[in-house]
């Protein structure tokens, strides 16, 4: 694995060009660029319908300087399965050079991955294609106007889970897709965040060194849907990690590792929720219980991730309560 040096990375060609038409301050293209920058081999991408796809390929323009295919919303994993299968077939038949290395990636939003694309993702992971699926999780169906998905956090005000007089935003907790992917027994599963580019890119590099299906779930703030400022995507992803809402970890060949432990940087969840307009109603006095419940959900999830880590690293255990000073 090459050492990640900013100076070297800055010389790499940008395979997703500037002027790609994503919103100012969107987290998704930052995630994509970091992923692509970490890979040295040629890459082919399958992209699910969603903001990333729609914005970057408005005909006759394309922002992609690599082979890229979008076919539909729910099938990025199935589509890349076909591309990869053709690669394997032609390689086996000697129709493409034996030393031609290509990496296969799929990108999808949380709607296209947690919900409508879950079956295709599960199928592709189970079949064992040599590819990596990257979900950029912005916590809702953003392209169609901020509808709730199974990745939307508890309590969030979205256009299909609006906070009203009777209902207080999304009533359900999030689906834990990273663990669902892990349950497929694939060789690499990880969560990452664009504020910690080194961690994200190291995970991508590691994933690329492993043959078989890989899954990465990356938080990608959306200032339109989260109702925040255009300049705080990175700060909010940092807070998501430091509040333990979005633990950074990986499970590589069965070894679970928390790759970042907030320790003294740990913050209560309210600090991540506060700047986001979608959680405004949680700060009404009568909704105090929601804040408490949210914190509970976060703590439960962190404990379960830490547990996996501790089982894999009995000599380097983490105390899940560490840093919880409030």
């Amino acid at each position: 694995m090459a050492v990640l040096k900013l100076k070297e990375l800055s010389k790499k060609p940008d395979l997703l060009t500037g002027g790609h038409r994503m919103c100012a301050g969107c987290g998704a293209p930052i995630v994509v660029r970091q992923v692509l920058m970490a890979i040295d081999e040629p890459v082919i991408i399958s992209n699910a319908t969603g903001c990333l796809e729609v914005a970057t390929t408005i005909y006759p323009y394309t922002a992609w300087k690599l082979p890229w295919i979008h076919s539909a919303f729910e099938n990025a994993a199935a589509t890349i399965s076909g591309v990869e299968a053709m690669y394997q077939s032609l390689k086996r038949q000697g129709k493409i050079p034996a030393d031609q290395k290509i990496k296969f990636l799929a990108f999808g939003g949380d709607g296209g991955t947690y919900d409508i694309g879950l079956q295709a993702l599960s199928g592709a992971l189970e079949r064992g294609h040599d590819f990596m699926y990257v979900c950029y999780d912005n916590g809702a169906y953003m392209n169609t106007g901020i509808q709730r998905s199974s990745a939307t956090p508890f309590g969030a005000d979205t256009t299909t889970s609006p906070a009203g007089k009777v209902l207080q935003g999304k009533a359900q907790k999030r689906k834990d897709l990273t663990k669902i992917a892990l349950a497929h027994g694939v060789p690499f599963v990880a969560q990452a965040s664009p504020h910690n580019w080194k961690d994200l890119m190291t995970k991508v590099q590691k994933a690329m060194s492993i043959e078989g299906p890989k899954f990465m779930n990356v938080i990608a703030p959306c200032n339109r849907g989260w109702r925040t400022q255009t300049n705080d995507a990175i700060e909010l992803s940092r807070l998501a990690v430091n509040t333990c809402f979005w633990p950074l970890y990986e499970v590589a060949n069965g070894v679970a590792t928390v790759t970042y432990n907030p320790k003294k940087n740990r913050r209560p969840i309210a600090e991540w929720l506060k700047p986001q307009g979608r959680f405004k109603h949680l700060f009404k006095p009568e909704n105090e219980w929601m804040l408490a419940k949210f914190q509970e959900l976060v703590d439960d999830n962190w404990r379960s991730v830490v547990n996996m880590h501790n089982n894999s690293h009995p000599g380097e255990t983490i105390d899940p309560e560490e840093g919880k000073t409030w």
């Binding site: 006759p60 082979p67 399965s81 077939s89 032609l90 199928g123």
Partner: protein, 392 residues
């Protein structure tokens, strides 16, 4: 050339073995299951070079086929009914991206009520998807069409996906005597793959597939698909002739049976045409000038040629093994009747919807239709379209 006895499904699977596609997807559904099942054995025994993608649904089957074809190789698949319906979204995308995937559609009725037997509601529902559709009367034709479909779809002037249809159970599961070409004959006939101009796997020349076309470009893209369909007719004929040279069986846009001097006639797709031929012979023996037209190419619909072939008739019945609920007749009838509109003198034309969900079409049913045709020339039809082979 080898004479064999096999079912329609096994014949198609053997055509696929001889074609040796680079990638296939497989997902089971009666009555097409056996095709990919048989083909899996060819893969397992190393008789083909195919990478078999055993997908988790037909939606993913067609999605994987799309990815594979865009990657730059030959791709085939088979399905029926609900499987085709689940693919529906992706059928349009395969055609819109101009990917020459060949799909064997073993015709079966769509739910509800759920049923596993033959009718054409599945492929007729996909008739506007941009796929070429070819229909087969028997296992021999299904085999021959499968091989020709590869050449048609991959033709540089087309690059279109092709749906090769045969009747579920009636043909897919009946053992028939037929002739298989020798493996090298098929290999030479289909030739090397040339169906993808801009393969994704050409990483040195990156391309974007599936870009968003808004008001400023979408209609031009669809227009190109429209124009490709206009070119398809001649290519189907040309490939059918070439195929005749190696097999002794030439193919065109449709088959006519005793139509030269016919006064009353039927139009019927697929296996029903076999039954119709028997009844045509009976009526001919009685001195009635009966005939049959069996369309082969349904998309694009060769409306000029079909109108020309039917223009001498006084009365005509179009048989539809599918309904288009609420329309003025079944899907085949609507096409044929529209084709006849520009004739200076049109036959009196009626439509019978028959055989849904595998209900048998008997000789008696068609005898009644011919008898009706002999009376309506003067009296006019009692109804434009109606169901037959149905309990009233």
């Amino acid at each position: 050339m080898k004479k064999v006895a096999m079912t329609g499904n096994v014949a198609v699977a053997n055509a696929m073995r001889q074609i040796n596609p680079d990638v296939c997807a497989a997902y089971p559904i009666t009555p097409s299951t056996e095709i990919m099942q048989q083909f899996s054995t060819f893969v397992a025994n190393g008789q083909v070079d195919t990478e078999l993608v055993t997908v988790e649904s037909e939606h993913s089957a067609m999605s994987a086929c799309i990815g594979a074809a865009a990657a730059g190789g030959r791709v085939m698949n088979a399905t029926s009914a609900n499987g085709l319906a689940l693919m529906w979204e992706m059928l349009y995308i395969a055609a819109g991206n101009r990917l020459p995937i060949v799909l064997s559609c073993v015709n079966r009725a769509l739910s509800a009520p759920i049923n596993i037997h033959c009718d054409h509601s599945d492929s007729m529902g996909a008739r506007d998807s941009g796929w070429i559709q070819i229909y087969a009367e028997n296992a021999q034709e299904a085999y021959d069409n499968t091989i020709q479909s590869v050449r048609i779809g991959e033709h540089p002037d087309l690059h279109l996906p092709v749906m090769s249809c045969m009747d579920g159970f009636i043909i897919s599961h009946s053992i028939e005597n037929l002739e298989l070409l020798d493996d090298p004959q098929v290999r030479d006939f289909v030739g090397p793959y040339r169906g993808t101009t801009y393969p994704l796997l050409d990483v040195n020349n990156p391309v974007t597939y599936g870009a968003l076309h808004l008001q400023d470009y979408y209609i031009e893209s669809r227009r190109q698909l429209h124009e490709a369909h206009k070119r398809a007719k001649d290519i189907v004929v040309q490939v059918g002739k070439e195929y005749g040279k190696i097999s002794g069986r030439s193919y065109g846009l449709f088959e006519t049976y005793k139509m030269e001097d016919a006064e009353i006639g039927l139009v019927a797709l697929n296996s029903a045409a076999g039954t119709a031929k028997v009844v045509v012979d009976e009526f001919r023996a009685k001195g009635v000038k009966a005939g049959l037209l069996k369309p082969r190419l349904f998309r694009p619909f060769p409306y000029l040629e079909i109108a020309d072939a039917l223009k001498g008739l006084k009365a005509l019945c179009v048989l539809d093994r599918a309904d288009s609920f609420g329309a003025a007749g079944g899907p085949l009838f609507i096409e044929v009747r529209s084709a006849l509109y520009d004739l200076p003198k049109r036959p009196v034309t009626i439509n019978k919807i028959f055989g849904l969900g595998g209900r048998d079409l008997g000789l008696d049913d068609l005898r009644k239709v011919f008898e009706e045709l002999t009376t309506i020339v003067d009296k006019g039809p009692k109804s434009l379209y109606e169901y037959i082979t149905v309990r009233e």
